[in-house]
């Protein structure tokens, strides 16, 4: 593809069979997606019409091409056309016509000109040397070379943004996210499995209109798309607040469209605009289709959000798989049993000690009848160990002392 400067986008779109009305509708829709005020729509339209098409390099690493699929299979027929009209997609392994050396050259040329956008799909394997090698260059090399002089990086999908499924434990390929490899270039993470094509389009439009990426959260995700929890904008939220839950797949509550919280929906832990933008041209989204959210747009979702059909993660080891409540009840039972046993032990200890004291006192009384008994009148000065060691002590030593209960409670003081 070559760069085409000079002609406005609307003219180029007209050539492609997209009329001006469709273009303006697109601009209004994308302005709404970006959560910009409606008055901004003309500015978006003007900016898009006059902007020079930026070169875009789309890289695929450890991915399933799901983000490419989502992008290409957008149900809105004009979006892909518009996007292809807005940008100059110079390199995309799945859709480009060029092959071999020519394709690699197209990428290198775009990088040489600079100011391009790099869209990355898939995580980068660092644990296996030479993996994902294309044209003699490894994934990491390709990424490092492609972002040189780039205006920005757009990570599409959770794999390039957070490592995604390839980086899930035990991460056999040593998969890392893009931000672990490159820095000092603006990054926007469009997470999701797959990315929502509308959010990708909106991000590019924002870049073309304002010359920068939209405001982002702590994980570099644009706030217009990831600023609110799924749970807080969910169409089933009313059922949550009313305590109406589906408890089994296909039960009465499930058929009536009640909240999927108890079936493990991760909407309360997930930030995405799925409920409002939906997928495939606004057709549907998982919760609308009756399946709980699995939290695919969150960091380490494959590990941290599982089990997908339970409310909380389990505490699992090789031999155990326990829920928090099982552990909790176990802790309470163990604590209660342990302290009950301790209490019994203390009672026995005191009974035994009291018994020995009585015996010792009896013997002392017997000894007192014979004058030779004045051997040790000071008693057990140490006092410690009188419960167990008392048995080994000489009979005369076990006089009740100030360290024992009897001594204290009758006011005998040292």
């Amino acid at each position: 593809m070559t760069r085409e400067s000079g002609r406005p986008l609307s003219a180029r779109l007209a050539d492609a069979g997209v009329d001006r009305r469709s273009f303006l509708k697109f601009c209004a829709g994308i302005t709404a997606t970006l959560a910009l005020p409606a008055q901004m729509a003309p500015r978006v339209a003007y900016a898009l019409d006059s902007v020079d098409r930026p070169a875009v390099i789309w890289l695929e690493f450890q991915d399933c091409a799901g983000d490419t699929e989502a992008f290409l299979r957008s149900r809105n027929p004009s979006v892909a056309d518009l996007l292809l009209g807005m940008i100059s997609l110079d390199y995309h392994e799945t859709v480009m016509a060029a092959a071999g050396v020519a394709a690699e050259k197209a990428r290198d040329d775009a990088v040489a000109r600079g100011g391009h956008l790099v869209i990355v799909e898939g995580s980068i394997p660092t644990g296996i040397p030479g993996s994902c090698t294309v044209g003699g260059r490894s994934a990491e090399q390709i990424l490092r070379e492609s972002v040189r002089g780039a205006a920005g990086i757009i990570n599409v999908g959770t794999c390039s943004a957070f490592g995604g499924i390839p980086a899930a434990g035990p991460n056999p390929t040593g998969a890392v996210r893009v931000e672990d490899v490159v820095s000092e270039i603006p990054v926007v993470n469009l997470t999701g499995c797959p990315v929502n094509a509308d959010n990708l389009t909106a991000t590019i439009v924002h870049f073309l209109t304002f010359g920068e990426f939209p405001a982002r959260d702590r994980f570099s995700r644009p706030l217009f798309a990831y600023g609110e929890r799924i749970h807080d904008t969910c169409q089933r939220r009313g059922h949550f607040d009313a305590g109406q839950f589906a408890e089994q797949w296909g039960d009465e509550g499930h058929r009536r469209g009640w909240c999927l919280y108890r079936l493990g929906c991760k909407g309360p832990s997930t930030f995405h605009n799925c409920p409002s933008v939906r997928f495939n041209g606004g057709t549907s989204w998982p919760v609308a289709a009756g399946h709980g959210c699995v939290g695919c747009s969150e960091p380490s979702f494959w590990d941290s959000m599982s089990p997908f059909y339970d409310r909380l993660p389990h505490v699992a080891t090789s031999g155990l798989d326990l829920t928090a409540d099982q552990i909790g009840v176990g802790v309470l039972a163990a604590t209660a049993t342990g302290f009950a046993a301790h209490g019994v032990g203390k009672v026995v200890q005191h009974r035994v000690a009291a018994h020995r004291e009585r015996q010792a006192a009896d013997r002392l009384a017997e000894d007192a009848e014979t004058p030779a008994a004045e051997t040790d009148g000071h008693g057990d000065g140490d006092g410690s160990g009188d419960g167990t060691a008392g048995a080994a002590a000489p009979a005369g030593k076990a006089v009740p002392s100030s360290e024992t209960d009897g001594g204290r409670e009758t006011g005998e003081v040292k």
Binding site: A242, G243, G343, R408, V413
Partner: protein, 252 residues
Amino acid sequence: MTAPAPATDGPAAHEPAAHEPAGDEPAVHGAAGGGPAPFVRVRVWDLPVRLIHWLLVLDLVALSVTGFLIGTPVIDPGGGVYWMSWTRTIHKVTAYLFIALIFARLCWHLRSPNPWSRWTEWIPSTRERLGQIVPSLRFYMFLTREAPPVVGHNPLAGLTYCVLYTMFGVEIVTGLVLWGAEGTGWASWLTGWLLHIVPLPTLRLIHHLIMWLTWGFMIHHLYSAILVDRVEGTGVMTSIFSGNKFLPKDHR
């Protein structure tokens, strides 16, 4: 065994507290007629400590019940009543109270004039307190019958409160992260960075587990209080209501 001597304990316990003696100069009871058991009444738990203690108990019950219901909403849904919303609201309001109580207790640790309300009671730092650790351990391990003579807590008991308050701290922080996730800006600003280290569902799990551990602590706490009450005979169980313990005169 350790049945308290009724001749001394009874009247002393019911004597109206005409003046509240400071911890340093305890009032002497039961020794007026040169009786056999001179007990001193010591104001061990001052009013803020007792107030915070009982408010915490009520608050923990409310937080645990609402928190458990939020995690496992088992109440039969009738519809029409937004009880989940109410439960979460109560959980949040009581959580505010909880944070305030913990904060107040920590402040009182630093500011209280009462030596048994201060942080030194929880963290053994003096030679005397450190020296009581082994005797306390021997007491709990059945090696001695008597706990070491202390006015407030023995150092091991004090240390368990450090563990408890660490758990409370984790509970507050994880709660604030969850709160921030709902869009509460200040909570997100304060604690949201934790999400770079621990995923949100894991924080939920920790938040839930500590609730159970807190009730495990409650069992331990109640048992230990009864044990010490029986063994020492100083009125530990009533002290958390009245604030007073009755100690042998030779104590301290």
